[in-house]
Structures are given as C-alpha cells and as structure tokens.
C-alpha cells in the first residue's frame, strides 16, 4: 500500500510524502527503483550521492547542504565540484564513506551495479538505488530526493516546474514534421544510442526520429556506411566540451547523406543530454531548436 512505485503511481507518492510528517512520526519508508525497501527514521541530514545526475537534482531541490560526498564527474553546478569525492565513476571508496557516517546513500544503480549496492548495505549503510529511465522519471526523481532529504515542498515545486516545461516542449513539437536524426558519439569507433536511451527520448520529444532506435544494443557500434544506408536528415554529435572535434568535418566527404548535403550537422553538449537531471531540458531545448532550424530550411527550399 505504501509502496511508491516509479512511473505507475507518481501521484500516490506525492500524497504519501505530504502525509508522512503527520502519520509516521517523520519516519520514511520507500521502495527504491530496484524494488528494495528503504527505511529512514527521519529525513536524511547527511547524504552521499553517487551519480552526477543525482547531485544536479539535489541542487535543484535546494538540498545541497545535506550532501557530504559525491562521485567523480559531479561537476554541475559549480559548487558541486567542492564536495568531497568518495567514488570514481564506477568504484567506491567504502572506507571514506563509512568514516563520514552518512544517513543515506543514493546511488545510480546501473552505473555502479548490484554488487556494490549490496556491499554498501552489508556495511550497514542505508542505500536508495536510483534508476530513472525516461524524461518523465526525472520529476519523480526530484520528488523522491525531496522525501529522502525532507525537502518535500521545494522538491514538489521543482518537479512541477520541470514537468510543466517538459509538457510545454512536448505540446510545441508534437505536431511538427518528424526529422530523422543520427546521434553520434565518438569517431573511431563510432557509436550511437538506441531507443531505450534517454537521448532517444529527447529526440522524440523534439519531434525527431532516432535512426538507430531499433538496434538491440544500448550503444551500437556503427559505421559511415550504415549512416549512408539510413540517410538521416540531421547528424548530431554529443561531445562533453562542446568544441567541434576535428573529425566532425570528415562528414563532408559524404554528400550523399541528406544531413551533409543540406549542411545539417550539429554539436551538442552531451552532459546536458545524457544525465537524468532537470538540466536535460536545456539540452532538449538546444536539440529542439536545431530541429526547428532544419524544418524551416526545408520550407525555404520548398519555396
């Protein structure tokens, strides 16, 4: 009954968290994204966040003062860089975490893996495993962090704000002409992302079609020839520093690709595209804007 299930009953969790200060004497009971029970006697005052998206989300609900440790690459907002690092992107410094005695650890589940989550629990720590998948899950993530840290109202505000903006983008682009997009990661080897990845969700939001959405692997390795075969209207390279890499101009060798012929090649900041945090809307706006440019240039061509 008090099970807060992700996605299915987002409303229930809101009701639950509004009710909890009264009926449960501030004790918190949640089911995490992997189905494990998480029990806190009171909202966490010191938390360790293992996953850059979790740190961004905690800042978004003004829970930054509760964070006592983060994982590597937690670089946004700038203040996050000053928080002690207690884990790399995939390894955890258990001793450091134990020494800092956190009330709670929130961990990006697939980034670290079930073994590490179990080990943290075996050490007697309270762990909430987070595994948001779609754009819609980010609102839920904000609310969950709100419950866990006692920032329920601020979290509700942030989540509503996020969901409104998301809905607005969805409304704006639902009726637009679909544009086929190839999202490129890296050069040699060249990879893309399939339909399960949140980047594909962002492309869909903007009225785009991910040309490799149907591939079974989450990050398929592809070749120039495969891109020629699927012939996307847009090629978009996600890079972490937003500088155009030298190899991006190699595409101009292949004018038979529509995206190249019409010069619809874009660079996007991958950090705003791949992290499950409210900032993803910035990346989404940028991507939607690029697709708009493409649509309007098509209209010009028609005239």
């Amino acid at each position: 009954m008090w099970l807060v299930k992700r996605i299915k009953w987002p409303l229930l969790s809101v009701l639950f968290c509004l009710a909890c200060p009264f009926s449960f004497a501030r004790s918190i009971f949640l089911i995490d994204d992997l189905g494990a029970e998480v029990l806190l006697s009171q909202p966490a005052k010191s938390i360790v966040l293992l996953g850059p998206n979790l740190v961004e989300s905690a800042f978004a609900i003004a829970a930054a003062d509760t964070i006592i440790g983060v994982s590597e690459y937690s670089d946004y907002p700038l203040a996050a860089k000053k928080i002690p690092r207690v884990a790399s992107y995939n390894t955890i410094n258990y001793e450091q975490i134990l020494a800092s005695k956190p009330d709670l650890i929130v961990i990006w589940a697939s980034g670290f893996g079930a073994d590490k989550i179990q080990k943290l629990r075996d050490l007697g720590l309270t762990v909430f495993a987070s595994e948001p998948q779609t754009l819609a899950d980010i609102g839920q993530l904000l609310r969950t962090l709100g419950i866990l840290t006692g920032h329920v109202l601020l979290a509700e505000q942030a989540a509503t704000d996020y969901e409104e903006k998301l809905a607005q983008l969805a409304r704006q682009y639902r009726q637009q002409r679909p544009v086929s997009v190839f999202y490129q990661i890296g050069h040699q080897p060249m990879q893309t992302l399939n339909g399960q990845h949140i980047v594909s969700d962002v492309i869909r939001l903007c009225g785009g079609i991910n040309v490799f959405a149907e591939q079974p692997e989450i990050a398929p390795k592809v070749t120039i020839e495969a891109v020629i075969a699927v012939n996307p209207e847009v090629i978009m390279a996600g890079v972490s520093d937003q500088k155009k890499p030298a190899w991006f101009d190699d595409w101009y060798t292949w004018p038979m690709i529509t995206a190249v012929k019409k010069n619809q090649l874009f660079i996007v900041n991958s950090n705003t595209m791949v992290r499950h945090a409210p900032r993803i809307l910035e990346g989404a706006k940028q991507l939607c804007h690029f697709l708009d440019q493409v649509r309007s240039s098509v209209e010009v061509n028609v005239e």
């Binding site: 591939q215 390795k221 592809v222 120039i224 020839e225 890499p245 038979m256």
Partner: protein, 351 residues
C-alpha cells in the same frame, strides 16, 4: 591447398566489396570493378551513388582485413616454428599488449583532437610505438638474462633463450596489462569506451593511408619471414641440430622476432587487437598440409587473409546496420572448426 586458397582469396575479397548496410548487388559491384582498379575509367552514371561506398569504404576495409589477417597468420606460423611451442602466437613477445598500452596512453593523454600525420591518428602511432618498444624491452631483458638462465645450453647461441623470452614476454604483457587497467581506471567513461572498443579490434578506421602503411610494412615483413622457411624447418629439429645444419640460430631468431614485431605492431596499430588468427590459422594449416614452412607460411598467410575478410563480412552483416567487433567473430567461426580438427587428429608436428 595453396591453389585452392589462391582461388578462394579473390572470391572472398569480392564478397567483402559487396556486403554492407547500403544495398549494392553483386552485378553493380562487378561493373564498378574496372573503375575501382583503374581510377581513370569512366563510371556508369547509375552507379555513381554506390561507387564511393565501394571505393572509399569497403575497398580499403577489405584490403586492410586481408593484409592484417595474412600478416598475423604468417607471423604466428613463424613464432610457433621459432619457439617450437604450440601456444606461441604473435602476441607472445609482448608486442600486442605493448601496442594496446601505447594506444591507451594516446587516447588518455592526447585524445582524438590530434589527427594529422599521414592521416594516421595518434592512437595508431601510439600503438605502433608501444608495440615496438615492448618487443625491444622483452628482447633486451631476455638477452641480458641469457648467461644465468640459459647457462650450459648451446655455446653457439649468442642470442636469447627461447624460454626466457617467453617468460619475459609474459611478464611484460602482465605489466602492460596492469598499466592499461590503471589508465582505464583513471579514464572517464568516454575514453574508457574508446579504449575497450579499440581493444576488441575493428577495421572501420580503414582508409587509403592505412592500407598504404600496411602495404609498405606488412608485405615486406611477410617476404622476409617467408625467406626464413629453411631455417625454421631446421629449427624444428632443435637449436643445436639447426646450428650443425648450418643455420645461424641467433641471427635467425633476432631477425624473425624483429620482423614479426614490426608486422604485428603495424597490424595492431591499424586494426586493433585481433586475437585468434595468429594462433589458430597456422595450426589449422599444419594439420592440413604438414609442418614444412615453405608451404605452411604461404598457406597460413592466404588462409589468415581469407578468415579475417570473412569474419569482417560477418561482423558487418550479422547485426546490420550496426556491427560486431571483428575479434569476436574470428573466434566464433574459427574456434569450433579448430576443435573439430583437434579431435580428429591426435598430435602433430609440434607435439
């Protein structure tokens, strides 16, 4: 055997030109052949669309696959003969792990921005230098250890002990592997992904420059290896026997090791780590045609080329439009065949 392989070779190369995510019929590719071979020849306007795909993507890729497969298999035959050890493969002298480490260092320290020299990326150069450096270290260490470890053995052998070289090779491989893991540990996700995919091998970086580099280094190396076939035959009897047959044992060793290092470092640099071909193809051929190196080396090269081109075709085909790492495919098609042959024959020339 050799003529059979010679007939199959152009067939699989043609197949390599025909297969890919872009639809091209056998006939289309056939009609494009003249313009691919003679660059001045006119192209049928209907085929203008597929010409660049076949010429700029599939041709260099297929050619590089053949070259690397042939080079690795022949190097493997030479190493197995030289070390008289069925487990020897081109990576045994540390060249592969050294190249792997060199590539990782290039990825981590330089990144992908630098992309200049001869159209070769920093990864290619890093791998090449790393591979050669590793072999030089292995060789120097093994030569230095000669007097103590190999004491009492052949006096004519002024060079290196085979056993010591194998052991030093293993040690250097472990060391380079550890350094590689350490680099992977400090690397971020993006860099890590590039290192690990590179380590699985891939021919998708093939272009004309890489083919030219391969042609200029791997082909002469193969010729030198092949010219040593008599010495290798003699070495099968044992080092002292070879010595009394008039083979300059230490010179042959030094020559073969350096040439194999050069060929393998080049192929790892150009196509990533492709396992299995260098180990298994020479064994296969030895079972089929016997241990004489004159035939064995030529047939190994031909079969290695065929295997890698075929594996690359499958890598492109199986999950098209995406593709598998080619090293995975060589193992999956080669291993069952190899096991089958092993079960049919109990023991052969190297055992």
């Amino acid at each position: 055997m050799r003529s059979l392989l010679l007939v199959i070779t152009p067939m699989v190369i043609f197949l390599g030109l025909c297969v890919g995510p872009v639809d091209t019929s056998l006939f289309q590719v056939w009609s494009l052949l003249p313009s691919i071979i003679v660059s001045q020849s006119p192209i049928d306007p209907d085929l203008m669309g597929s010409y660049p795909v076949v010429r700029e993507l599939r041709l260099p890729r297929t050619f590089l696959a053949w070259l690397v497969g042939a080079g690795l298999a022949m190097s493997g035959a030479a190493m197995q003969g030289l070390f008289r050890n069925p487990l020897a493969d081109p990576s045994i002298i540390g060249v592969t792990s050294g190249a792997s480490l060199g590539a990782s260092i290039a990825v981590v320290l330089i990144g992908s921005q630098f992309n200049a020299w001869l159209g070769l990326s920093s990864i290619v150069l890093g791998a090449f230098l790393g591979g050669l450096l590793a072999v030089v270290i292995v060789y120097r260490l093994a030569s230095g250890a000669h007097s103590s470890v190999n004491a009492g053995s052949l006096s004519a052998d002024q060079g290196t002990s085979v056993a010591t070289m194998l052991l030093v090779g293993i040690a250097i491989t472990a060391l380079a592997g550890a350094a590689n893991s350490a680099l992977a540990f400090i690397a971020d996700n993006e860099t890590l992904r590039r290192i690990s995919l590179w380590n699985m091998g891939g021919l998708d970086g093939a272009n004309d420059q890489r083919c030219l580099v391969g042609l200029l280094i791997i082909v002469p190396s193969m010729l030198i290896l092949w010219r040593s076939h008599r010495s290798l035959d003699a070495l099968l009897l044992g080092e002292s026997e070879a010595h009394y047959l008039g083979v300059n044992v230490s010179y042959t060793k030094r020559l073969l090791i350096m040439v194999v290092a050069l060929a393998v470092a080049t192929s790892v640099a150009l196509a990533g780590v492709i396992g299995f071909v260098g180990l298994v193809v020479p064994h296969l051929l030895r079972m089929l045609i016997g241990p004489g190196h004159r035939q064995l080396m030529v047939c190994s090269a031909l079969a290695g080329g065929i295997l890698l081109v075929l594996a690359d075709v499958l890598a492109r085909l199986l999950i098209s439009p995406a593709e598998l790492p080619v090293g995975v495919v060589t193992a999956v098609i080669g291993a069952p065949f190899f096991i089958l042959l092993l079960r049919q024959r109990n023991g052969y020339a190297l055992q």
